[in-house]
Subunit: 118 residues, 2 copies
DNA sequence: GGTTGACTTAGAGTTAACTCTAACTAGTAG
DNA sequence: CTACTAGTTAGAGTTAACTCTAAGTCAACC
């Protein structure tokens, strides 16, 4: 598919898609006869994984590191797993903290509801 | 207390504290005889609330809106409550999504653990 | 009285992650 | 052949949220 279709499916602007390729996050995207990018199912899967890492707070720099390791093949499996496990830990901590924040926010809103805040 | 002590307690750099005052997030900070900022317990409470809103993804612009409403006193109680309730909703959605991301990440890591990824 | 240290300000610089512009090309429809 | 559309690139511009610099003030110590 062309970049517009890919943009639609992944819900990312063509600008962002090209940017991701430029910084080395999206590699090996093929081209058609006239030099236009031609995206495949594989690209969708990979971009969706990038989005997941990004949405859970991983900086693009670190996602790039994962991408580079992936590029190097089987010998980096362990390192990639470790990277993901560290991220998993961070994410668990993040969720825990967000739940604490939610609790505090609930308390604050209750004060408003009971008219104790003015 | 002076800005350094306040910085230590709130775990924010003096730069950030002055910046927050400059953009109108921190208002009515008093000064001592020689023109230096003098922070009180109230400032700590307020900054901690700001941090909570920020940590849960509220942009400083919107926190500023809440601060402005607060400044206007009792007649804005309803509006402030609504603002917080909208944020509460967003936060609940965010936590739900982060949990989904965590589940997907767990699955991915399991693939690594079982040696199905290379 | 001079130096040191903790503050002050206005405004410039930084960083991450886009987002856009300008100039260009290739394919298609009239 | 011309116009239009959909892409291409390098590189400039934007935004949020800081972070720092430079020049200055003020109180305390030697």
């Amino acid at each position: 598919m062309n970049i517009n279709k890919f943009s639609e499916i992944t819900e990312m602007s063509p600008y962002t898609i090209r940017y991701y390729e430029k910084i080395g996050l999206l590699r090996g995207v093929s081209r058609n006869a006239s030099g236009h990018r031609w995206f495949t199912e594989k690209d969708i899967i990979w971009v969706n994984f990038i989005k997941r890492l990004k949405d859970t707070g991983m900086p693009l720099e670190e996602i790039k590191k994962y991408a580079s390791l992936r590029e190097l093949g089987a010998q980096t499996v362990k390192e990639r797993q470790e990277l993901l496990e560290k991220h998993q830990e961070n994410l668990i901590k993040h969720i825990r903290q967000q739940n604490e924040h939610l609790k505090a926010l609930n308390t604050k809103i209750d004060l408003y509801k009971s008219g104790e805040v003015g």
